[in-house]
């Protein structure tokens, strides 16, 4: 799709990002920075009980409070919403049931925020308290009362089961079978920007909302549905996000509430959440208990894997159905796994809903897989790096579960971190207390399917060029810090041969820009990038045609570079870029082009096979060094080496930033971050609350806690990526947690099969080791979960066609086709 000669202008060069100036001058306008005349302010009253039915709400005192303009409750919002069509299970304000402490039950709009806050206390809510479920096992063992009236049964939200090839047969034929249980604690995104939204009626009666959202298009759909308004009458502007990491990827209750309030009051209504409320929005990492059963031959070749996961979903669906599939979808794309069985179960509990945090559902099983591989290497007396190198999946493979792998730079990544960390001379040879650990990972470059079924493009780009020589690029993609605006402009500038600073860009605005599905699943660079290439090449062709006539040079010989269009064989013969635009506008009339991108069809045809496919996958390898005090268990990470197979780095400064930001977030998850809850003694109180919804007690590593990171970008351009680029924003987070766990084992000989890896857990394991017990901290067992009959999908090498052989629904559909 891209120029086979490769980029010549801006792509691949380390440059100031196009939005860099705005970000360092404070000019970037985040949602709470949007100021409109006559704005009034909204606060939400949130449930103080973890599970209950609302008997009554009395808002009369609040309505009478001076300065209060409007009080809304659940009865004002009859239509539920939710990100996935299959789980429209949230109310903008709870109508009859609250499901966790923090669920919104009423909204107050007042002349200022302080007045709205004061009036919250004047609302009387009468709750009937229901029993609470704090863990998935509690929810599983107590099917009644149901937290939701939908789902598989009881409090089971979603259950899945697949078998790709006969794993039992493969285990029986294996030299060794390893079984391990792991637990990954939940954690949250903690963007520094708290969610904010401001909605305003337009003069013609339409509605505009500015919001900190990563998904303006999905918010647009949700608003149209929940407000029962034509989508064409709603404009969503996604402001640049002050960090998202997946935490602003759902439509949120507060967005719908201020939109409704603005329409009722006929004036702008703003809400800016406080930090505690951000913790209640959550949608962060699901706590996952998992069991890996892996068969290997004596040389380390994997014969089969059986993975079971048990997932704590929190109180609502969110992306949970997709998350459930993601806890097993990508196990097969790093190493060759010829037979694979996967079972998963997501539970509802009375806690803020979990969802898609950086890596969405895949870091948890990646942790288990990479730690187990370390154990396998040791049991087989193999070097963990050599073992991995010997089983790396081959490029171009369709895996056992029909993920279509394209380019794989994983072997190069492993070689890179092994060399730079001096692995061969230091692993298993450092003094007691010091250790190295290695782990690898892979991630999507965009999900193959949108969250609602359609055959439309996933990303669209429009270009406008006019006689001023100006080029404006329009795209629905949303800048969340990752640099999507820079990617868009970089590609357009590259192809048109102009300076990135010459390009204006308009992004994340449903009125002005073509649809892009949003900044999630690491999809923007690949999908928007390809759409941008198409739009820019079409524009280039228009200009080239006009210039060709003028210069009497074949269009194929024209070069676009340094703000000129000229003859490759006679560079002096050319016109300025502006002259080129004038020539084309003169000949063709007003100039504009479009480009769009739709991912290729996946070979996975079985039901559930829609989660996991991607145009291409990125790969990462990471070595972490740890320093563990054998007496106190204190753990410190002095250095991290990481290599990431990015295909091509469009702007290496930004790419490196994504890698190192991922390492940072991964270290937080590995060492200290956890979203945990507490009950009070049940005889005294039904409370079930977030332990510490604050920036102080939710431990995000500081500048003093961050080690040096030695980063290498491995660049083998992938034919499916724009100029060969693959994702970089999420994949590099995944290997960090298992690499830390593996390094702890190298340092002090104990296995921490659980995240986060804290001093007290290390010390417990060391105590056990000293007593002659296994030096291990982690879950003891995996509960008996009734998973459904597996979907039987023969693997490609068994002659499978990507369909299940026992799915009656699909078989019926296939006959009808």
């Amino acid at each position: 799709m891209s120029d086979p000669a490769g980029p010549r202008n801006t792509v691949g060069r380390a440059r100031r990002r196009v939005d860099g100036r705005a970000k360092v001058t404070g000019a970037t306008r985040f949602a709470d920075d949007v100021v409109l005349p006559r704005t009034v302010h909204c606060k939400l009253l949130r449930s103080s009980v973890p599970h209950g039915t609302i008997r009554s709400i009395d808002v009369s005192k609040a309505e009478a409070h001076p300065g209060v303009l409007l009080v809304l409750t659940g009865k004002d919002f009859p239509i539920p919403f939710g990100i996935l069509p299959v789980s429209q299970d949230e109310d903008p304000l709870c109508r009859d049931r609250v499901r966790f402490v923090g669920d919104p039950v009423a909204a107050i709009v007042a002349r200022d925020e302080a007045t709205a806050f004061d009036a919250l206390d004047l609302i009387d809510v009468d709750y009937e308290i229901l029993p609470t479920r704090a863990t998935p096992l509690e929810a599983y063992e107590n099917p009644s009362p149901r937290i939701h009236e939908y789902g598989e049964e009881g409090n089971v939200h979603k259950r899945v089961s697949f078998r790709f090839g006969d794993t039992d047969e493969a285990f029986a034929a294996s030299d060794h079978v390893f079984e391990d249980v792991f637990f990954f604690q939940g954690n949250t995104h903690l963007p520094i920007e708290q969610h904010a939204s401001i909605a305003a009626p337009d003069p013609d009666g339409k509605l505009t909302i500015w919001s900190s959202t990563q998904v303006p298009h999905y918010l647009h759909r949700a608003l149209a549905r929940a407000l029962d308004m034509p989508a064409a009458h709603i404009r969503v502007v996604a402001c640049p996000n002050g960090g998202g990491f997946g935490g602003k990827t759902d439509p949120f209750n507060h967005e719908i509430v201020v939109a409704k309030a603005a329409m009722i009051l006929g004036r702008p209504v703003k809400i800016a959440l406080n930090r505690e409320e951000v913790f209640y929005c959550h949608r962060g990492r699901h706590p996952v208990l998992m069991k890996f059963k892996t068969g290997v031959r004596s040389d380390g070749t994997i014969t089969a894997m059986h993975l079971k996961t048990f997932i704590d979903g929190g109180a609502y669906g969110s992306y949970g159905v997709a998350s459930t599939f993601y806890t097993g979808a990508l196990q097969t794309v790093t190493y060759r796994i010829p037979r694979y069985r996967f079972e998963a179960c997501r539970m509802f509990t009375n806690k803020p809903p979990c969802g898609p945090k950086r890596g969405h559902g895949t870091p948890q099983p990646r942790f288990g897989q990479e730690v187990q591989l370390d154990k396998i290497a040791e049991a087989l007396s193999l070097d963990p790096a050599d073992l991995r190198l010997s089983i790396v999946e081959r490029p171009g493979t369709v895996t056992a579960n029909y993920m279509h792998v394209q380019t794989i730079g994983l072997a190069d990544c492993i070689a890179s971190v092994v060399r730079r960390s001096d692995w061969k001379t230091r692993f298993r040879k450092l003094p007691h207390g010091r250790g190295l650990g290695l782990a690898c990972s892979s991630y999507l470059s965009g999900a193959g399917l949108p969250i609602y079924w359609n055959k439309l493009p996933h990303s669209g780009v429009q270009l406008k060029l006019d006689r001023s020589g100006g080029v404006t690029a329009f795209c629905g993609a949303t800048e969340v810090g990752q640099g999507s605006d820079d990617v868009l402009v970089n590609i357009v500038a590259e192809i048109l041969g102009i300076d990135p600073l010459d390009v204006r860009y308009v992004t994340g605005d449903t009125d002005l820009t073509p649809v892009d599905l949003g900044s999630y699943s690491s999809r923007v660079t690949l999908m928007m990038g390809n759409a941008a290439i198409q739009a820019a090449e079409r524009a280039r062709d228009l200009l080239a045609g006009a210039v060709s006539k003028k210069l009497e040079v074949p269009a194929s010989r024209l070069v676009f570079s340094e703000r000129r269009v000229f003859d490759a064989e006679d560079p002096g013969r050319g016109v300025t870029f502006q002259e080129a635009v004038v020539l084309a506008e003169t000949e063709l009339g007003t100039l504009g082009t479009t480009g769009s991108y739709t991912p290729p069809r996946s070979p996975a045809r079985y039901k559930g096979g829609g989660v996991g496919p991607s145009p291409t996958y990125s790969y990462t390898a990471c070595v972490v060094e740890v320093d563990v005090d054998p007496v106190t268990g204190w753990i410190r990470v002095p250095k991290v080496w990481i290599a990431h197979d990015i295909g091509r780095a469009l702007n290496p400064v930004l790419a490196r930033g994504q890698v190192e930001g991922s390492v940072y977030m991964g270290l937080g998850e590995a060492l200290m971050e956890e979203q945990t809850f507490r009950r009070l003694p049940p005889r005294l109180s039904p409370a079930l609350v977030h332990k510490f919804p604050s920036m102080l007690e939710y431990k995000s590593p500081t500048s003093l806690d961050m080690p040096e990171v030695d980063t290498e970008l491995i660049e083998h351009p992938d034919p499916r990526g724009p100029f060969g680029a693959k994702e970089v924003g999420q994949g590099p987070l995944l290997p960090v947690m298992p690499a830390v766990a593996n390094a702890v084992y190298d340092a002090v000989g104990v296995r921490i099969d659980e995240v986060p890896i804290t001093p007290e857990k290390i010390l417990r394991a060391l105590d056990d080791l000293a007593k002659g017990k296994p030096g291990r901290y982690g879950p003891e067992s995996f509960p008996e979960i009734r998973y459904p009959e597996p979907m039987l999908v023969p693997t490609p090498w068994e002659g499978g066609d990507g369909n299940a052989v026992n799915d009656p629904e699909r078989q019926r559909a296939a006959k009808m086709e």
Binding site: R16, R17, D19, G20, R21, A22, K23, V24, T25, G26, A27, T28, R29, F30, D32, D33, V35, D112, A114, H189, L190, P191, I192, E193, Q194, P240, N241, G242, G243, G244, F245, N274, R275, V480, G481, Q482, G483, V653, L654, R656, G657, E660, G661, S662, V663, Y664, M665, S694, M695, L696, S700, T702, S703, L704, M706, E708, V709
Partner: protein
Amino acid sequence: MPLLQLSLEINGEPVETAVAPYKTLLEVLREDLGLTGTKHGCELGECGACAVLVDGQPVLSCLVVAAACEGRRVETVEGMAGRDGALHPLQAAFADLGGAQCGYCTPAILLTARKLLETNPEPTRDEIADALSGNLCRCTGYNQIFEAVEEAAARLRASR
């Protein structure tokens, strides 16, 4: 309660305003004076996103009552670039070297780093990490921030 009369200097300009008496400097800057470059992430002194310079010292504007700012000299990110729009070397280095990703913690970090370089023109990596240890950043992993501060320090030294 009546509004509070307040006169202070902001980014070198005298400012007179009347503010609600419960307001913090953060709220006055953002809401009354339109200086939205100063951000907020917790309003409790737990994240560092709201740092500004008061009488030359980096402090958290969310924990400064506006009334206490009478007669003080306040500097915000809006005052960092030169009158000609030329970026401060810290701003330029952050923009060039990946010191700002989402840009939300950036204004506070820039001001904190400016104070560091004023007192210590050639800080070590450890000294930079220490000086910025009251400013959380969730995007960068700090390494590119450290590099940007080092680069700005070098540019500043070269220009002296």
